[in-house]
């Protein structure tokens, strides 16, 4: 017998625990099913999961959302460019989201998380699995962000 594991609630809970700590006002909008190949944001952070579960999680950010999150993490009112410090901050943020989310899963085996990779570009498409993925959309103040995930 197999039990389907969803990261939806764990990821929403992870956001609810983390974002307010950095002074970020956000709201969950919806979860949608996606195809295997999807358009991605201009700034994306990827972590892979294995051991307890196999899959990938992508945090998709508009430039505005990325700068707002970095500002929240480093305690500034505003940040204007995504420099090394900002990239490190986003990388740490992604690890925190993923760790918190998988820690809420009711599975007996520990889940390994790969180091976060930052992907930027124009007209970016992503394919994180051979099977369709799920995408959680959020509002973040005057912009949006998303978390796509897939468990194989």
């Amino acid at each position: 017998m197999t039990t389907e594991i969803s990261l939806k609630e764990p990821l929403i809970q992870a956001c609810s625990e983390l974002l307010p700590k950095f002074g970020l006002k956000y709201s969950f909008v919806e979860e949608i099913s996606e195809k295997t190949l999807n358009s991605a944001e201009s700034i994306n952070l990827l972590v892979g999961l294995n051991h307890g579960i196999q899959g990938n999680i992508i945090l998709g950010l508009t430039s505005q959302a990325a700068l707002r999150i970095v500002a929240g993490i480093i305690g500034e009112d505003e940040v204007f460019t995504l420099d090394n410090q900002g990239r490190n901050a986003l990388s740490d943020f992604m690890t925190m989201i993923a760790r918190k989310a998988v820690s809420k899963l009711e599975i007996s085996t520990a889940v390994d998380i790969s180091p976060p990779t930052l992907i930027t570009g124009d007209t970016v498409f992503s394919m994180i699995s051979k099977i369709p993925s799920q995408k959680l959309s959020f509002n973040l103040e005057n912009t949006t962000f998303s978390i796509s995930y897939c468990i194989e």
Binding site: T36, L37, A40, N44, L46, V47, G48, L49, N50, H51, Q54, G55, N56, I58, N84, R87, N88, S91, D112, I113, S114, P115, P116, T117, L118, I119, T120, G121, D122, T123, V124, F125, S126, M127, I128, S129, K130, C150, E152
Partner: protein, 154 residues
């Protein structure tokens, strides 16, 4: 990570890449000088590693080279769905990652090395980096096109 072990991991990953290219698509990719991929649309595959080795392998080429590799893997038969190119590239990278971890397990006895599923990104002006992970980029050229592998371990 010690420099010696890092160099060894890079060497084993390169060996896996070169072997899989030869076995799977009969293409000898040779190390070459640094280059910039000219074709605007790039394809990148990222595979994470966890367990006794923590890191990631990032393979990148232009879309034209990816299409040639996928077509060769499909025995020259054209695809019904053009997006199948990405699925083939994922499998290509997965085999390289699998071979590399086999070599690493043999070399550094002790501890399991696990791969995360391949993630593919395609687009213009792709920039990919893994903060806080030392990495080395190796450039390759062969009759199917040009490739680079960015190998990062900590």
């Amino acid at each position: 990570m010690q420099q010696e072990k890092f160099s060894e991991l890079v060497m084993l990953t390169r060996k896996a890449f070169e072997e899989i290219c030869m076995e799977l698509v009969s293409c000898e990719f040779s190390p070459c000088e640094r280059f910039i991929l000219e074709y605007p649309y790039k394809t990148a595959v990222i595979i994470g590693m966890t367990g006794s080795v923590n890191g990631r392998i990032h393979l990148e080429c232009d879309l034209e080279t990816a299409a040639k590799i996928a077509l060769t893997m499909n025995f020259g038969e054209r695809f019904d769905n053009p997006n199948d190119v990405y699925a083939y590239m994922a499998e290509f990278a997965n085999m390289i990652g699998g071979r590399a971890t086999t070599y690493m397990s043999e070399k550094f006895l002790g501890g399991e090395i696990r791969l995360t599923p391949p993630a593919i990104f395609s687009g213009k002006s792709l920039g990919i980096l893994t903060p806080n992970i030392p990495s080395q980029i190796v450039y390759y050229s062969g009759n199917l096109g040009r490739f680079f592998i960015d190998i990062g371990y900590k």
